[in-house]
Structures are given as C-alpha cells and as structure tokens.
Amino acid sequence: MLWQVLRMAAGGLAANKVRSALTMLGVLIGVAAVILLLAVGNGSSQAVKDSITSLGTNSLTVSSSGGGFGARSSGASTTKQLTLKDAKALATSEDAPDIKSVAPVVSSSGTAVYQGTEYTVNSIIGTYPAYFETTNSRVAKGDYFSNDDVLNARKVAVIGSTTAQELFGTVDPVDKTVVIGGTPFTVRGVLAEKGSTGVNDADDVVIAPLPTVQNAFTGFGSLNQIVVQARSADVTSAAQSEITQVLMGTHGIKDSSSVDFRVSSQESLLSARQSTDKTFTVLLGAVAAISLLVGGIGITNIMLVTVTERTREIGIRKAIGAPKGVILGQFLAESTLLSVLGAGLGVLVGVVGSHFTIVGIKPVIIPESVAGAFGIAVAIGLFFGSYPANRAASLRPIEALRHE
C-alpha cells in the first residue's frame, strides 16, 4: 500500500520533471545553505579556539594598563610601567608557588634584509628562552637560543615560518645572517607553523634575546609584557592572584582596585572571541533559514499549481469513488517526496561541500544542523503541501469536473 502510494507520487512528479527538479533545487539549496553556513561559522570559531589554545592554556600575560585615569588622576602616584625588576620579582618570589617560569617581553617592528630581499617583519620580540615553552612556540628547524645567548646579548634570532618564507624562500635560513634594522642577526632556528589568529599572523615574527632587542630597537626602559607560565592549566587562576600580589608589592599599591597592570589568561581571551563568533554563526544561520523558508514557499507554490492543473483529474477520481483521504494522501505524498528528496540531496551537497575550505575557513559540520535542516525541510513540505492538497480533496466532484 505504502509502496503503491510512493510509486504514484513518483509518477506524479515524473510527469513534470523540470518543475519537480526546480522545486527540489529550491529545497536543496535551502538545506545545503543551512548546513554549510553553520559549518563555516562553527569552523571559524573552532579555528580561533585551536589557535588560542595553541598559544598555551596555562600561560598568563601581564601588561601595563596604560595612562593614569579615574582614581589615580588626583593622587601623586603615576602609572608604573612594567620593568625587568617586576619580572625578576615574579621569578624569584617565595609567595608564588604556582608560577613555573617568567619571560619578560619587549616588542618592536622593523625591516629585515637578506641578500637584497627586504621584508617588514610584523613583530620583533626580545625575551628569554622560557617564552618558547610558555607560548607553545616550537622550532621546526635548527634550535632555540639559550640563556647564555641572553646573558651575552648575542645577536642571534629564531624566526617564524612566514618570515622565513618571505626572506629566504626555499633556502634553509639556519646559520644565515639577516640584517634587521641595521643589526646583523644569525638565524638559530625556524618556528613551526601556528596558523593565523584572525588578523595577526602569528608566524610573522622574529624572536631574539631580550638585551639584544633592547640594545638595537627599544632601549632599556620598560617592558611591553611579562609572559608567565603557570605550573598547570588548573592553577592559572591561583597564579593570576599571586602575580597580582607580587606586582602590587613592587609597585607599592595597597588597594587592589587601583592596580596599574592587567593579568589576562588565554581563557578570558578565548571566551571573548567565542562570543563574537557565536553572533557570526547565528547571523549565518538566519540567512540560511530564510533560504530554507523560500524553498518551502516554492513547494507550496508548485503544489498549488499542480492541484489547480489537476482539478479535473481529481473530479474524475472522486466520481469513481476515491475517498477524500486517498486524494489527500496522494498529494501529500507528492509534496513530501519532493521535500524529502530535495532535503536529502541538500544534506549530501552540504556534507560534501563542507570538505572544501571556504574563504580560508575549514567548515566543521554541526550534526544537529544536518538533522534540523532535514527535519525542517520535510516539515515545511508536509505543512505547506497539505493546504493545497486539502483544498483539492474537499472539492465536490462536479465542481472539480467543471473546472477549466
């Protein structure tokens, strides 16, 4: 019985192939759009999450909160910049058992030259070797610089993969000398690729010993950041309060509400990024839902046309004794078949399409979106198909037969 109804519905659809195909295309595009756009949104937030965790989940960044404002504007105390003394205090403090390592950071930018090739490096970082472990930066070729290099302020550097590519091309950069801002640096190693975090290319970087960079670029004043590694990801918040305590001591601040520095963890960065990504995904989903709705309206329209066109046939069928339910069932079966086929193909296209990289984002399918889009498309087919079908089935035979 069911088989027969399906065959009849398939026959009805096959009677007008182009029209059925176009209607199905509408549903297909709707479903595929929902799946793909949500996958792209999900993929981009996944990528952000991955690249942020790749920076190290147990690392904390201390930075100065900048110019004085609010409560401090009246007092004599001005904002103290972060200094090497602060970093040393953190590294040696007895009251900070959760701090594993400390790396002071200065940063600058400048132009690097290698055998006539010029390239402006996004960031030149002066720091201690601990920085590599804290920020999850591993060398792919060559080696890190050592504490000894830092003590002797040697002109050595570890460069990011983008920088290596831009300056050296296919040449192995290890042990080559590159001139940055007039100072010759010997390349010790090349970092493994990290991927970009939104706008910043984390691979476009030159990392050198702190005193060398201070000497050549920034001078021996304040630090830009202090990067701290907690003993484990679980104790980052404990480490965070220890840092606050120690730095309040060195900066001579009594009130914790008027600190002149900021301690941020990767986690806080992550949640901020994720919330913007959620908005992005919701927007994409809304666009996709609209296209799904348009596909549903397409089904209604086609079913209305089909029913109108076949009103005489409905009259004939009723005249030879077709019960209302059978006629209703026939048209419902057609619209359902149309939407199930369209939605099925849409799922196929969506799943296949998500294997390709779209605008630099690798889509990650949300399983619920597949089930949801399919279900909604079929429900739309049933719902919007039932109106014309019901109208057709309720006609009196003679009215239907007289229909022109």
């Binding site: 027969q4 026959g11 009677a15 005489r312 046939e313 009259g315 004939i316 069928r317 009723k318 005249a319 030879i320 004794g321 077709a322 019960p323 209302k324 339910g325 059978v326 009196r396 035979p397 003679i398 037969l401």
Partner: protein, 292 residues
C-alpha cells in the same frame, strides 16, 4: 442492495409506471432510484437559473420540484433539448452534485444524510458513471484506469488486475491494456470508460450522452454493451439527443426547462431491452458478480 425475488419483480412489473410527477404512489418494492421534489437552481434572486424545477404548485406557490422513480433492472433514456436540465439531473443521480432542495433516495437510503466518506463509497460501489467527454485519468494506461475503482474499493492487486483485464476484454480492448488515453481513439476511450464503469459490478449504470462524441459504428458498439449489461439485470439511465439511441431504452423521459413533460414505456422492466440484438452470453464474465 438486497437481491430481489423474481416474484417480487414480477409484481413490480404489473404496477403501472408511476405518473412522473405524482409523488408517493404506493409500490410494494423500493425503487432503486427515487427522486422526490428535487429542485436545482444556480445563482440567487432574479438572475437565478432553475435547472430543475418540476411543475408549478397549482395553489400558486413556487415550483414543486422533479419527482421520478426508477425500478431495478429498468433502462431509462432521458431526452430533451440543450439546457433542459438532463445533465443536472444525472449529476444528482450519480451523487456528484447535491440538489438545492428535495430528496434523493438510492435503494431507499436518503443520500442527503450521507457524509463525505459514505458518498465516496456509494459512488464506488453502487454507481458506474459514463461521461460524454470520457473523463479518463490523463497519463494513465487503460489497465490502470480500469483498476482505479477497484483500488479505491480496496481490492487486492492480483484480483484487481484479473477483473480489469476481463472488463477490458469484454469491451474489446484486451490488446490495448498499456495504451494511454492520448494513444486511443474516441470510441476506444469511451469503451475504456465503459469498462471502468462496470468493473466494480455496480447495480446502476449512469451515462451522460455516452455516444455523443462517437461515430455510428462506435455508437452501435457502446450501445450493444449497454444493452447486454441491462439484459444482465443492471439498471441503466442514459441521456441522449438521438431517437436512434433512445430506441434501445425500455422507458423514455422527456425534459423541457427542468420539467418532465412525458414518460413513455417502450418495453417491460423485466427481460431484455427492446433492441437487444446479440444473444452472446459474454456479459457473464464480469457482470455476473453483480447485484450487490
């Protein structure tokens, strides 16, 4: 329908045909068709068209409506000029349309009290309807076409096919099973329609100008089939414009402006129709299962 005893039938025959417009004449058996004061009008007020009106009330009221009875096994031809209300009457008899007022009793059951589903059962089981314009389902083979009423009746596939093939063979289309309507001549299409009307073995065959679109040879073929069905005991009501066709009937009704103006009996209700030519007993194959 309960099968009637031959005795009962003979009795009925002796009762003179009810004067068409005289309602409620005493009869010992229930007529298959009993139309009581049926009126049908389209539109309202001054512009209303009274397609069926019957005689005017002598007391000065409005039209009384059409009343007519048809006995089991009768063969009635309905004649009249164009627009006289023949099709309107036929559509009401076939439960395809509802009268504006009045009652229609089919086998003693008031059709007006049936719901949508029961009506579809009546159309399917009791009535075989043949249209002037064939009204075959488009893009459907002759076989599937004839199987349709059986499918709606819930007959199983194998049995359905057997009976449809038998019906098509009976109308001489045993070799055209897989042809679609657009691959058949007008006469062949009408024969498919006849096969479709009789495949469920309905007790009543209603035909609205079944030969109106056919040449004389196809007309003869279709009429011969109708004759055979009537000879096998089916009640037939047929609309026609041609006297030639009306000769086949046992009783002729004439309509003018929605009124029955004459009711002539040409042959007895029992027995074969007047012009029944063939003595071939082919009818049995499909028709013998009838009388339900």
């Amino acid at each position: 329908m309960s099968p009637r005893l031959p005795v009962a039938r003979r009795l009925t025959r002796q009762v003179r045909p009810v004067p068409a417009e005289a309602a409620g004449s005493p009869s010992r058996t229930v007529p298959v068709i009993s139309v009581r004061g049926v009126r049908k009008s389209y539109g309202v007020g001054e512009a209303a068209v009274h397609a069926l009106r019957g005689p005017d009330d002598p007391a000065g009221g409005g039209p009384l409506g059409v009343s007519v009875d048809v006995e089991q096994g009768d063969f009635v031809a309905v004649m009249g000029s164009s627009g006289s209300g023949k099709s309107t009457l036929m559509n009401i008899l076939g439960c395809l349309d509802v009268p504006t007022s009045g009652r229609y009793l089919l086998d003693g059951i008031d059709v007006g009290h049936l719901d949508e589903h029961q009506l579809s059962l009546v159309r399917n089981r009791k009535i075989g309807f043949i249209f002037q314009s064939f009204n075959l389902v488009p893009r459907t083979t002759a076989l599937a076409q004839v199987e349709l009423p059986l499918a709606y009746a819930g007959v199983r596939a194998a049995e359905r096919r057997r009976r449809a093939v038998a019906a098509l063979s009976m109308v001489g289309l045993g070799d055209r099973l897989d042809h679609r309507p657009n691959e058949l001549s007008g006469g062949q299409q009408q024969r498919v329609a006849v096969a479709r009307a009789l495949v469920t073995s309905p007790a009543m065959l209603l035909a609205d100008e079944p030969t109106g679109n056919l040449d004389s040879r196809s007309t003869d073929e279709v009429l011969a089939m109708v004759d055979r069905l009537n000879a096998a005991g089916r009640t037939v009501v047929l609309i026609t414009h041609e006297d030639e066709v009306a000769r086949h009937a046992k009783r002729v009704l004439r309509l003018v402006d929605g009124r029955i103006v004459s009711d002539v009996r040409q042959g007895p209700v029992a027995g074969p129709p007047p012009v029944f030519a063939g003595a071939e007993p082919v009818v049995g194959a499909v028709a013998s299962g009838g009388g339900r």
